[in-house]
């Protein structure tokens, strides 16, 4: 399983802070994002936001990055700390 986390405005849009996705058939972050987008209109719209950032195992990453069973992936809006 791949653990997926959502933060901030995206978490609110999806009304979901985390879920698990079967690792089978998902080899990149981009593919994982497509799988999540297919969960419904709300998901499709929210995840279509090109400014969203992605992290894999707590490091900023990109759509081509590999993802595998046991990974922790996060999607979130551009950060605004500091």
């Amino acid at each position: 399983m791949i653990k997926v986390l959502f933060f901030a405005g995206l978490r609110e849009q999806l009304d979901c802070d985390s879920l698990e996705v079967e690792a089978g058939g998902v080899s990149t972050l981009g593919e994982l994002r497509e799988v999540l987008s297919s969960k419904g209109d709300t998901w499709r719209v929210a995840l279509a936001n090109e400014r969203l950032q992605m992290a894999c195992n707590q490091e900023l990453s990109h759509g081509d990055a590999a993802v595998r069973d046991g990974d922790e992936v996060a999607f979130f809006p551009p950060v605004t700390g500091g």
């Binding site: 933060f7 901030a8 992290a55 996060a74 809006p77 551009p78 950060v79 605004t80 700390g81 500091g82």
Partner: protein, 166 residues
């Protein structure tokens, strides 16, 4: 060589005590640079709905909720500090970032650096703040005094472009 200390916490911190800790038994570094970020008492997003005299009421008005990604917040700050320590000769690096509910005037972030060289200390301080702003997983939500749902702060393009000078 560089002594790096990263903390992500809900509690407040005392910049004076942090300065003292940076200087304790540290007479080899002649330079200390510190940056502190505080919650401002106004924002374009909430100024229209906040009474102008609300800050003078004497009660602490919660104006911000800071969300973070536990685990990644710490590791992102640590990676930024390590990058700074590779670029400049630094003695000590201390970064504190708060999360949770913060009121106007509260400290949000502390970056403290010691070095034998003033320019290294000041540059590293600016470098860490710039990368923290665009690479550390924290998100600000501004809350009105009335306690309504609040509004997420938009990331500024100027923060992303600030990275280019490094």
């Amino acid at each position: 060589m560089t002594d790096i200390s990263i903390v992500v916490q809900a509690e407040g911190f005392d910049p004076g005590a942090e300065y003292n800790a940076l200087r304790r038994e540290n007479t080899s570094d002649g330079a200390t640079a510190i940056f502190v970020g505080n919650v401002r008492d106004f924002s374009p997003a909430i100024s229209a709905t906040t009474a102008p005299d609300s800050s003078s009421s004497g009660s602490a008005v919660a104006v911000m909720e800071l969300e973070h990604y536990p685990g990644m917040a710490e590791s992102a700050l640590d990676a930024i500090a390590r990058e700074a320590a590779e670029r400049w000769p630094l003695g000590r690096v201390r970064v504190i970032h708060r999360y949770g509910r913060l009121a106007a005037g509260d400290e949000i972030v502390f970056v403290g650096i010691t070095s034998a060289h003033r320019q290294a200390a000041l540059d590293a301080c600016a470098f860490i703040m710039d990368f923290l702003k665009s690479r550390a997983p924290f998100w600000k939500k501004e809350l009105t005094a009335g306690g309504s749902a609040g509004q997420w702060v938009e990331a500024k393009k100027s923060d992303e472009s600030a990275l280019q000078k490094w």
